[in-house]
């Protein structure tokens, strides 16, 4: 109720306008590279929203989430590239990628239903690695994935006659490919966030929360724990697959390397850091953790320009700073930067 009443308030309209003009501002200001970075941030937001369903809503620790992103990306790559000379339309590829990832979610979910906490984390971690290693090695006996070289020359995303990678003119403005992708991704993130929020505040979301809080009590309250866990895994994976397909079209190239364990850990960090269980929080986490490392990279160029020499290589200290930031946030904001309302209440109670 509150959201629909305030959607036309000056603040919301201002925020909306800012989101609309952001790629234009970035292009004019810091440069085209930043539009690309923001595009990536939006892709990661989709992943964070998906993983949040599994980790934040249902409380199942998943360390192999990136495998679903890989599934979606590779299916898009196989169906829309020179690999098999297939060029399927988007309306077929995108749902298929999401559905295949969702199926993989079920496949991962089914054998791990009895596992909790650390044990579940280990199995999901293994699953993520298995998918990556398969992609790496499926160039024999017949060439499916092109092995470590990955698949290149993937078709850009095309809606009818509109190709997102090509510049278009709108009302005297020329939009570049990355800018057009920005609007597509933004719309997707808003859609996914809306869906996730609707699910969270429903009978289904409450069942997930119950499982997260106490699995036995949830079962004793009549919740079919197995089905709801599978649903969480599958819906989370579907988001990942969807994002993966968009990523493949956007990037034009996929290789197993883009889907390593570190990526899974990054997405998990976005969820935990942003605020587990809060959709806005995890989007914030995703944007923060995509933009910060890039900003840090800029520090290298800055040193080069001002001192003619790189004193501190950003690549060397990146992980150090990142780890330090994580520790600080977990110490001072254990529920994340934007905790869910319930956790926020809890947190405020503890303050003197």
């Amino acid at each position: 109720m509150g959201a629909s009443a305030s959607i036309f308030s000056p603040v919301s309209v201002g925020k909306g306008l800012l989101l609309v003009v952001l790629p234009l501002l970035l292009q004019a200001g810091p440069g085209a590279a930043w539009v690309r970075i923001v595009d990536m941030a939006l892709l990661y937001s989709m992943l964070a929203i998906g993983l949040n369903i599994v980790v934040g809503f249902a409380g199942l620790l998943d360390l192999g989430y990136i495998a679903f992103y890989a599934t979606g990306a590779y299916l898009y790559a196989l169906l829309d590239s020179m690999q098999f000379n297939l060029h399927w339309p988007l309306w077929a590829t995108l749902p298929l990628s999401a559905a295949l990832a969702g199926l993989f979610g079920l496949l991962l979910g089914a054998p791990t239903l009895r596992l909790r906490g650390d044990y579940l984390a280990i199995v999901t971690l293994g699953f993520g690695e298995i998918v990556r290693i398969f992609l790496n090695n499926l160039d024999t006996p017949f060439n499916l994935t092109n092995g470590p070289q990955g698949i290149s020359l993937i078709d850009p995303i095309r809606l009818g006659n509109f190709t997102f990678s090509r510049p278009h003119h709108f009302a005297g403005l020329t939009l570049t490919g990355t800018q057009q992708y920005y609007y597509l991704f933004l719309a997707t993130v808003i859609g996914m966030a809306w869906l996730a929020t609707r699910l969270q505040h429903s009978r289904i979301g409450r069942a997930w929360a119950a499982i997260r809080e106490d699995e036995l009590a949830a079962a004793a309250s009549g919740i079919a724990v197995r089905n709801y866990k599978l649903l969480a895994f599958s819906l989370g994976a579907t988001c990942g697959g969807f994002a993966g397909a968009l990523f493949a079209g956007f990037q034009g190239f996929v290789s197993p390397e883009s889907f390593n364990l570190m990526e899974s850990v990054m997405v998990l960090c976005m969820v935990v850091l942003g605020g587990m269980g809060n959709v806005n929080g995890v989007i914030f986490g995703a944007i923060l953790l995509t933009v910060l490392p890039e900003a840090l990279r800029m520090m290298g160029d800055w040193q080069l320009n001002h001192f003619g020499h790189i004193w501190i290589d950003p690549n060397d200290v990146r992980m150090l700073l990142f780890g330090g930031a994580l520790i600080l946030i977990m110490l001072y904001r254990p529920a994340g930067l934007l905790p869910s309302p319930a956790q926020r209440r809890e947190w405020q109670k503890k303050l003197p």
């Binding site: 429903s202 409450r206 036995l216 079962a219």
Partner: protein
Amino acid sequence: MNTLLDIHQVSCRFGGVRALHDVSLTVNNNEIFGLIGPNGAGKTTLFNVITGLVTPTSGNVTLDGCSLTGLAVHDILRHGLARTFQNIRLFPGLSVLENVMIGRHSLGHTGIWGAISRNQRARREEADLRDTAHQLLQQVGIHHHTQTLARNLSYGDQRRLEIARALASEPKLLALDEPAAGMGQTERDALRELILSLRAQRHISILVIEHDVKWMMALCDRIAVLHFGERIALDIPERVRQHPDVIAAYLGSAS
């Protein structure tokens, strides 16, 4: 039919340990039935058999004519048996209201589509759910705390919330596992009043496990006594109190 819960010749072994041996008892409609016994008598095992956590080695349990043996925990609730736990198991990070709403999960129908579209049916279900949850909280006497997180409730109120959550599924039989554990005398008396009033208002049967024999005598219609996995007595409280085997069992365990 007057019998609601029928426990028929239930035996349960864990390796060489004979936790339950040939235990039979019945709980009638609208009855408050007590289960007592010294430590290790098998009360909790029997409770776990009824609620589906433990599958008996032999024997079976039926509720209102339906066999519960071998059913999953959540299916047993759907058949009309709701329980509370010895060491309270709420959803600590959720609000009091949400706890009760989750207790009514089995009576809801909203699926993914209803959750996303919030169609009229889903909205009505949600509104009904809230109303019922408020009523239940009123009935157990903690309606002034609806938005508090469950973990921030006092111990006694947590017990009450757990009962409200169990009642939310509209059970035929409410099973309470040591509901008065850790309570002071005043709280115990209040809890007994609550249980009696629930039976009067909701016309349900209630099965209670408890250590406090005196408290049980004033609450239950009939009491069964377990000792070393066997049922040594089953009668109205006055006669159970004077039963020689019961006296021996309790004195024996005390020495």
